[in-house]
Structures are given as C-alpha cells and as structure tokens.
C-alpha cells in the first residue's frame, strides 16, 4: 500500500516537472507545444541508454538535459516563426516522428521491445523494499529545484519579456525585443526540464519503450497545466497532483467496486470532459496567474512601507 502511494507521488513529481516546463512555454510565452512528449522521451531514452552502458545517475542526468535541450533547439529553428495552429500541428508531428525513430532504430533503442533493466542508483546500498522511500524524496528535490528555477525565470526581466511576447508580439518587437531569440530560449528551457522528468522517469520504471510516448501523454500534461492554472507554477504542481490522484483513485475503485465502465476508459473520458468544461467556463485554470514577484515588486513593497 505504501509503495502504491509512493509510486503515485513519484508520478506526480515527474509530471509536475513536465507541467511546469509546459507552463513556461505555453503559459508564459504562448508557445503551443503539442509535442512535449518528444522531449520527455528524448530525456528518458538518453538516460536509459547511458545508464545501461554503465554511466551513473548524475552523468546521465546531464546528458538527458543536454539532449532534450538540443532537441528543443533543433525543433525551434524551423518552426518558431509559424503561426499558432501550424506550430501545434508541426509539434505533434515532430513528436510522432521521434516515436517512430524510437521504434525503428532498434539497433539503438531495441525498438518496440524497449529497454529493460535500467539500474537504480544506490541499489546496492538501499534494500529493495525501501527503495521507493529513498527515490520519492529524490524526485521531490528535483521538483523543488525546477519550481525554484521556473519561479526565478518567470519573475525576472527575462520572464517579463516572455510575458510581453505572450501579450503582444508587435509591441514587444517595437521596443527592441528579439522575439525569436526569446521564444527559442523558452523552448530550450522547457525542453531541458522535460529531459529531467524523462531521466527521473526511466530510472523509476527501470524499463522504457516507445509506446510510453504517445501524443496522449502531451495532452495529459496540457490537462494538468490547464487545471492547475495557466501561468502559475504552483498551479502546475497542483494540476499534476489532482490528475494523478484521480487516476490512482480510479484504479483503487476498480478493485473494490464493480463499475459498469472500465476505469481506464472512464478516466480518460472524464479528462476529456474536464478539458472541454475548462475551455468553456474557466480557461485560465483553477489558480489564476500569479502576481509577479520580481525585484521591482519588492522595491515597490519596501518603498510603500517606508512611506508609511
């Protein structure tokens, strides 16, 4: 039972990182990235392959971040100047091409059979039955780190430019901001974080295969971001928790109650309804956009205190 909860928490943590990464791109920069699963997959496969070749957890982490960032950069070059709907279609397609790559290049990825036996870090020190007790905090440390980094970025002058791009590209350009450069950086940051998530994921499952990286995963991450709140980093974590709780809840219910509907289908149908209802009635999500906590905000607050 406790392992069940820990497993759920680990998933929530990993997807929390993904939701944060998407929020930076879509929530703050209005980059409609529908190919998020691709960068997640690149991170996961990079870590897995290097881990299986004997490299340690930290080395594979750096590699995963680098490869996903690189993937983000390469994708951004030809696509960032496209308008919103074209960008959406291209990113979904790019994600699918990557998945086909994982399936087809069996000499590297073992194709559809996947990569089993990914070694756990410190597995020789920590007994198997307690492993999740160790790994869960590890994931949460990374989640917290991503949360800090994201919050810093979003409240910085850099984040301010991202928001201006989101609100009005033309005005932003007229004030000297190189839109393309900022969008690229936003995508690279988001992709790197997705790489971290992929890294943590592959070590947790100890097995990855191409059918873990369908477009459905991207849309699930979108759901988490939308529920939690657009342009709200804390909200992304909340969204991930909510969706994960719901999914786990469903599988528990399945064991105890005889539902007329297969909970796997029910789960996704409910998510479908949630997406539609949010779009109709509350597109900004549960928690509205955070007030900026930048250097200037602090200066303002201190200033008013002094005035008094």
């Amino acid at each position: 039972m406790i392992n069940f909860i820990l497993d759920a928490l680990i998933y929530a943590g990993v997807f929390g990182i993904l939701a944060i990464s998407l929020n930076i791109e879509a929530g703050f920069t209005r980059l409609m990235n529908y190919g998020k699963v691709a960068f997640f997959g690149v991170g996961a496969y990079t870590s897995a392959l290097l881990a299986l070749s004997g490299y340690n957890f930290l080395v594979t982490l750096v590699a995963a971040i680098f490869m996903s960032a690189l993937a983000g950069f390469l994708i951004s070059l030809p696509t960032l100047r496209l308008r919103e709907d074209y960008f959406a279609i291209v990113t979904v397609s790019a994600g699918e091409i990557l998945r086909l790559f994982f399936i087809s290049e069996a000499w590297l990825t073992n194709g559809t059979r996947g990569l089993p036996g990914i070694p756990r870090p410190l597995a020789d020190i920590i007994p198997t039955e307690n492993y999740l007790l160790f790994y869960t905090p590890v994931v949460f440390v990374f989640l917290f780190a991503c949360y800090l980094i994201a919050t810093q970025i979003v409240n910085s002058p850099f984040g301010r430019v991202l928001k201006s791009i989101r609100e009005d590209e033309v005005a932003s350009k007229s004030l000297g901001k190189d839109i393309f450069k900022f969008k690229t950086k936003s995508l690279i940051i988001g992709s790197s974080m997705a790489g971290i998530a992929g890294h943590l994921f592959s070590y947790h499952l100890r097995f990855i295969s191409p059918d873990m990286f369908f477009p459905v995963l991207t849309f699930t991450i979108w759901t988490m971001m939308i529920i939690g709140g657009i342009a709200n980093i804390k909200g992304s974590i909340l969204g991930a928790l909510i969706v994960q709780t719901f999914e786990r809840g469903m599988s528990i219910v399945k064991d105890y109650v005889n539902l007329p509907i297969d909970p796997l289908n029910f789960r996704i149908i409910v998510i479908g309804f949630i997406l539609i209802l949010f779009m109709m009635y509350r597109p900004e999500g549960i928690i509205p956009e955070e007030k900026t906590k930048s250097i200037s905000t602090r200066l303002e607050e201190n200033g008013t205190a002094e005035d008094k």
């Binding site: 959406a88 279609i89 291209v90 849309f219 149908i269 997406l275 779009m279 597109p283």
Partner: protein, 305 residues
C-alpha cells in the same frame, strides 16, 4: 536499379490516395470555416468504421448498408460535436490566457478522448474485422489487388463526384463555397450561415465516416483507426491548401504516391518500413515551413499565414 513493381506501386498509391482524399476533404472544409485544426475528426473516421461494423455484426447487413450507416452516423456525430461544444466556444471571447484557436483545439482533443474511449469501452481495445466473405483477387500485369480495393477506389471517386456536384450545382453547395471563401461577405449577403455550417459539419463528418469505413475494410478496426490517419490527413490538407476541396483530392493522391514510393525506397535502402508515416509527416513539416498556403492557395490564404 532498384526492386520495384511499378503496376503494384500504381495500384497501391491510388488506393492510399482514395482513402486519404475522403479523410482530408472533411478536415479541410471544417478547418477553413472554423479556422482551427480539428483533432476530433480522427474519431469521425473511427466512429464511421465502427458504425458499419455494428450494422454488419448485429444486423447482419452487408457492406453497402455499412457504408450508408458510416456516413450518416459520423455526420450526426459531427453535428452533435459542433452543436454541443464548438458553437459554444465560438462565442466565448478570447480571454487573456487562451486564444479561441487554442480553446477549440484543446476542446477537440478532449472530445476526441471522450469518443475514442467510449468506442473502446463499447467494442474493446482489441483489433476487429468486418464479418464479410473474402474478396476476389485479381492480377493485372504484375499488380495484385482485391475486389475490395476496387470497391474502395470506385466508391471514393463516386463520393467525391457526388460532393463535387453538390458543391457546384446546388444552392446550398454554392453557399458553402461562398462562406468558405468569404465568411463576412456571405453573412451580409443573406446566406443562412447556420444552415451552411451545419451542412459543412454533417458532410465533413459523413465523408470522414465513410473514409473510416473504407479504411476498416482495407485494413482493420481499432479505436486508434482515425488517429493513425489524422496526421497524414493534415499533411494532405496543408499540401492541398486549407479549405480547398480540389486541392485536398489532388494532394491526397500525391501523398498516396509519395508514401508508396517512399516505402519502396525504404525497402531498397534497407531502412525500417515502420518509418512509413514519417514520410507524410516530413512533407507536412516541410510544407509548413516553406509553403504553408499549400499548392493551391488563394490570395487570402497567403496573407493569413
């Protein structure tokens, strides 16, 4: 030079193109009218196939009944989708966070989840086949094909012709073309845009449903039937130019040929054939980067890019 069976390649390409044409026509019309890429079209395809299956399994009827039911069922599903979801979103003003395009796109994905997994709930996740007699097999020159293949190609051409006649010679059809070209002008000129929109959705859904049915006959049924075709259908739509009925048809056959030639190339180059869908995706991405208005654009398309 290379291992290739040209007549077979020809037949396969026409076959692929025929199904793609039907899959893309509905998609391109709705994209133009609603101004967003509608991902739930995948489920119109799937539902069409499964409706025909239901008619075949439970009513014991043959392919002809199946084809009609696929068109009607998916047509209605499309109208219901528009009525319950998309028409409501059209009126929601763009909040600061999401554009109208985004909210409709995401809603279409949500709707797709609902439909796809409802289908999966009813009929299961496993692959299904139509319960029909094995087709006759023909051989012409070095090409091998079945009577089903012939039926698919011919019925696709027939439906395309019917649609062409409808769009060109009926008043409603002309109204559809006018609204598609210039929505604001047609509104002022007194065209009943509501009627036009519902008809477009019904015909699009129906055509998709029929395409799904053909695909199910050609291959097999699964809840992912539509999704597997959807991205390639988008490639056709973009290649042909969004909103172009004739562009979609020509682009479908072009991609049909390119895909099949591509498979031959993959085989000859000793590359995995699992890359097949990547061929269409690559065309899609290249088109969007270099010529997003497609092959058959109108002036307004070029500006809208």
């Amino acid at each position: 030079m290379v291992l290739v069976n040209l007549p077979q390649l020809f037949v396969d390409s026409i076959l692929t193109g025929s199904v793609l044409a039907l899959g893309a026509i509905g998609l391109t019309l709705v994209y133009r009218v609603m101004k967003f890429p509608n991902f739930v079209h995948a489920e119109f395809l799937t539902f069409g196939a499964y409706s025909a299956y239901a008619v075949n399994q439970y009513l014991g009827l043959g392919l002809f009944a199946g084809s009609i039911s696929s068109f009607v069922a998916s047509g209605m599903l499309a109208v219901i989708s528009y009525r319950s979801v998309f028409s409501k979103l059209e009126n929601v003003s763009s909040s600061g966070t999401t554009t109208k395009l985004t909210s409709m796109l995401i809603a279409s994905i949500g709707l797709g989840f609902i439909f796809r997994h409802s289908i999966q709930e009813i009929w299961g996740a496993n692959v299904l086949y139509f319960n029909i007699e094995a087709p006759a097999i023909y051989e012409y020159f070095t090409a091998r094909f079945t009577s089903f293949d012939l039926i698919i190609i011919l019925s696709s051409i027939l439906l395309v012709l019917l649609l062409h006649v409808f769009l060109t010679y009926t008043n409603l059809g002309k109204s559809i073309r006018a609204t598609s070209d210039n929505p604001n002008l047609s509104l002022i000129s007194g065209i009943d845009t509501d009627r036009v929109i519902y008809t477009v959705w019904f015909l699009s859904g129906g055509t998709e449903g029929f395409a799904g049915f053909l695909r199910g006959v050609d291959t097999r049924l699964s809840p992912w039937l539509g999704w597997n075709v959807l991205l390639i259908a988008f490639a056709v739509v973009i290649l042909g130019g969004i909103g172009s009925f004739y562009g979609a048809i020509i682009a479908a056959y072009i991609i049909g040929f390119v895909e099949n030639i591509g498979v031959v190339a993959l085989i000859n180059l000793d590359l995995p054939t699992s890359y097949r869908p990547a061929i269409a995706f690559s065309i899609l991405i290249l088109m969007l980067i270099f010529r997003p208005q497609g092959l058959f654009s109108t002036a307004s398309d070029r500006k809208g890019g």
